[in-house]
């Protein structure tokens, strides 16, 4: 058995030698350098917290460790041996297992089947020995103090916390030595988080090396022994957490070199154009109230899952609300569809460009004219000349690079697709434009074009709400910043002498 063999290789005094170490690992994607020369060490019986902003390279690292991505350069060592992890299966067989927010388990299989999938005990005919499998499953669950989970239950019927436990049980069943937990607490209640922490303590005492990824500092300080900070795809620092005050870690996370010049502008802020009060949703957000003034860029910062996109989609008619009111230009509105919001003068440029933004399969000009069809057509009849001229006006202002306006939008790069998406909503001539992560995943040149264009928009008295998880963008573009945390507004700042640390603290709920 390979697991037995791996066990024997385990060094006798493992306490101070890393169980897993990465060195000089780099990974690039077309146009993006995701990781550059990073290192990471995981120690047996210890929890290492991986800390960094969105886009710092954490998920790329997890994907390399679980065999989904191959590093361009660098070395991965488990114990004393250099290893390659060409597939997810190879990573699994080396004893590396990952527990994600959306763990890769099978909803329609039983708990026991999920635990033993791929290494089920066999009887003498080579068939699965169900009796032994169930018994083993029960035993594994008992050992980790999760005896309350029925081994025969279908996974679908379990809550997310119990699913995590099954994922851990699966890791235990193959004697995994390295457990990666990627935001495991994101969907858990306070009580479930406590139970997860007990389990982590158990895994520590069992000598597992644990990589713990979380945005929440209280959790990190509660459970982790060591920290590693990533920023912009580079490893910034590592060490024992006990020696390191929180604010120093925040500084390491955000203290970046300015890699991008934001447009200079002189804000000319007018009267309130949009006011939102008491906006609530049964599960996503509660009591949201703010005002947007004419010619203003209002930044919305927060962690992923803080409810920013949900609030914006509610304002733009895509999500129903349970309470609250929206007033645009003095008129109360309650848009029940995107069509109604567009009519009223509010447009939402969504975050998920591919799914919600562009219509791949249609040419550029038809994408741009889609929300404005009532204007470009006459009594329901298309007028192509109008559509082309509308598309040309807005795409050229955004400096779109395309060979013709009849080109399928799917053939454009991500940055140029984003320009088409922004052009399409601007062409409706809105009063308020909401941009959700407007520069996510696009190249630096397109970013500059989008930022320049935003400056131009507000100069023309348009009002902009910008949801962004990128601190430089928030600080570089906003006139005011609203920070959201867990579905509520946590803080509002004027963007004068505002620094990144203040925002990160507010977003994570750390007292200053």
């Amino acid at each position: 058995m390979h697991t037995a063999a791996l066990k024997a290789e385990r060094p006798a005094s493992a306490a101070d030698a890393p169980m897993l170490s990465l060195s000089g690992v780099s990974k690039s994607f077309p146009g993006v350098r995701a990781l550059h020369n990073v290192s990471l060490s995981l120690y047996p019986g210890q929890v290492t917290a991986l800390i960094g902003e969105n886009g710092a390279g954490k998920s790329t690292l997890v994907k390399i460790l679980t065999g989904i991505y191959q590093p361009d350069e660098g070395e991965i060592r488990i114990g004393d041996d250099a290893v390659k992890l060409p597939t997810a299966d190879a990573a699994f067989r080396h004893g590396i297992t990952a527990i994600h927010q959306e763990t890769v388990l099978f909803d329609d299989l039983s708990v026991a089947e999920n635990i033993f999938l791929g290494h089920a005990p066999r009887n003498r005919f080579g068939l699965i020995d169900w009796r032994t499998m169930r018994a083993n499953a029960r035993e594994v669950l008992e050992t980790m103090g999760a005896g309350h989970i029925d081994a025969d239950a279908r996974l679908r019927d379990l809550g997310i916390a119990n699913k995590h436990l099954v994922a851990v049980a699966r890791a235990m069943s193959i004697d995994a030595r390295i457990v990666i937990m990627d935001e495991p607490t994101a969907a858990l209640s306070a009580k479930e988080i406590e139970e997860l922490f007990e389990l982590i303590e158990f895994l520590k005492s069992d000598g597992k090396a644990i990589l713990f990824i979380s945005h929440k500092f209280d959790e990190i300080y509660r459970i982790a022994d060591r920290y590693t900070v990533f920023r912009d795809g580079e490893m910034i620092g590592e060490g024992l957490l006990a020696d390191k005050p929180q604010n120093e870690i925040v500084k390491m996370m955000v203290g970046r070199a300015v890699d991008h010049i934001f447009p200079e502008r002189e804000p000319k802020i007018g009267a309130t154009i949009l006011s939102v009060s008491g906006l609530s949703h049964p599960t996503e957000f509660d009591g949201i109230g703010f005002e947007l003034r004419q010619g203003e860029i209002l930044g919305f910062y927060g962690l992923v899952g803080a409810g920013r996109s949900e609030v914006m989609q509610a304002i733009a008619g895509m999500t129903r609300t349970s309470a609250g009111s929206i007033t645009l230009d003095g008129t109360p509105i309650a848009p029940k569809s995107a069509a109604e919001a567009i009519e009223a003068g509010i447009v939402y440029v969504p975050e998920e460009r591919g799914r919600q933004g562009v219509v791949i399969g249609l040419p550029i000009f038809q994408n741009v004219s889609l929300p404005s069809l009532d204007r470009t057509s006459k009594s329901g009849l298309l007028r192509l000349a109008e559509e082309f001229s509308l598309a040309r006006t807005y795409t050229e202002r955004l400096d779109l690079r395309a060979s013709s306006l009849s080109q399928d939008v799917g053939t454009l790069s991500g940055g140029n697709q984003q320009k088409v998406v922004i052009a399409k909503w601007l062409a409706t001539e809105p009063k308020v434009i909401i941009l959700d992560e407007p520069t996510k995943g696009i190249d630096i040149g397109s970013k500059a074009a989008v930022h320049g264009f935003m400056a131009e928009l507000v100069a023309q008295r348009l009002s902009v709400i910008m949801v962004s998880s990128e601190l430089p963008e928030i600080l570089g573009m906003s006139d005011r910043v609203i920070v959201m945390r867990e579905g509520r507004i946590a803080a509002v700042f004027e963007n004068k002498d505002l620094d990144a640390e203040t925002l990160v603290r507010a977003a994570a709920g750390i007292a200053a």
Binding site: A338, V358, G361, L370, G380, F388, E396, D399, L405, A455
Partner: protein, 336 residues
């Protein structure tokens, strides 16, 4: 508006790159024209009775009724939905017309009942799909059994006969010389649907929904409303077809138009409409209707048994779904 210019002047992007010839030659429609010509020639050579004005006129009856439904079905499939209940709608509409006949309804009343039933059945499908968010393939398999089941309950193994002479015009009458009322109606409807799909903002929204309904919704397209209208139109066309068939046959049996839905869908897909939604043209559907009419008529002239005909339809359906994929691999683009 006065744009703040960045250092470089914006580059001008042309409306379209001019390669109309290549596009026309490599289009799916061009292939269909070639196939239609080939089948015409084969039919002429295979049977001495084919090349004759009245034979050719008879031929058109093989596709006009199904073709009328295919026009609306094309729009529905482009939007990413499907309606398998169209043949059952014909049966139900025909049955209700038969009942009205028993109550001495006149021709205008019969026509109104036929078309009205179709419209209501389509609206029922549309409500289930857009209101409850159910997948259309499941909903319309269900209503397929439901509608025809009701027809069977009403009729048993009986038949309604004795439609008035004035009612016979729709399925048996001629507008001019060999040009039947059915053919005239089909060509007129084709023109209307071509215009609707390719020249109106409603048609543009259908394409947008079929390619990415989420993005279409975000862009202010009322997706549910458009889909509901398309289900109504498809039901309506099935109602029209029911009037024509009932008029042509002069009787109603519960097994009327059995299996038509497959021929209609085959027509639509053969016409180059992507079964996944988002692409297709009315010209293609009309050509496909013509091809299927000629093939089945040719088989009839050659005394090919009916069961062979349905084997052929089945093979054709599989082939035309596979062909666009093969086409794309050969030419690197999907049929326009």
């Amino acid at each position: 508006m006065s744009a703040i210019e960045t250092s470089a002047a914006p580059r001008r992007i042309p409306d379209r790159l001019d390669t109309p010839l290549k596009g026309a030659v490599l289009s799916w429609e061009a292939l269909l024209v070639a196939v239609a010509v080939a089948i015409f020639v084969i039919n002429s050579l295979a049977s001495p009775y084919f090349l004759n004005a009245w034979s050719l006129s008879d031929l058109t009856f093989n596709f006009t009724e199904k073709g009328l439904i295919a026009l609306a079905m094309a729009l529905l499939i482009i939007s990413g939905e499907i309606d398998l209940s169209v043949a059952a709608i014909i049966a139900l509409a025909s049955t209700l017309m038969g009942m009205a006949l028993q109550a001495d309804a006149g021709t205008p009343m019969l026509v109104a009942i036929g078309i009205g039933t179709g419209l209501l059945c389509g609206a029922f499908n549309g409500l289930l799909v857009t209101g409850l968010g159910l997948p259309s393939i499941v909903v319309t398999i269900g209503t397929m059994s439901l509608f025809r089941g009701v027809a069977f309950i009403i009729l048993g193994d009986q038949a309604f006969k004795g439609y008035p002479a004035s009612f016979a015009f729709f399925g048996q009458g001629y507008v001019w010389w060999v040009v039947s009322f059915e053919l005239t109606l089909f060509l007129a409807a084709a023109l209307v649907y071509w215009f609707l799909l390719h020249r109106t903002s409603f048609g543009r929204r259908i394409f947008a929904i079929g390619n990415n309904s989420v993005a279409a919704q975000f862009s202010g397209v009322r997706v549910a409303r458009v889909k509901f209208i398309l289900f109504c139109l498809t039901g309506l066309m099935a109602g029209v077809a029911s009037v024509l068939i009932t008029s042509r046959l002069g009787s109603t049996r519960p097994s009327i138009a059995q299996g038509y839905e497959l021929e209609v869908i085959t027509m639509v897909v053969l016409g180059g409409v992507s079964i996944l939604g988002g692409a297709g043209s009315i010209v293609g559907v009309v050509l496909a209707a013509l091809i299927m009419g000629m093939v089945t008529f040719g088989f009839g002239l050659l005394n090919v048994p009916g069961i062979v005909m349905s084997i052929f339809i089945g093979l054709l359906l599989i082939l035309v779904i596979a062909l666009p994929i093969i086409w794309r691999r050969l030419f690197g683009r999907r049929p326009a």
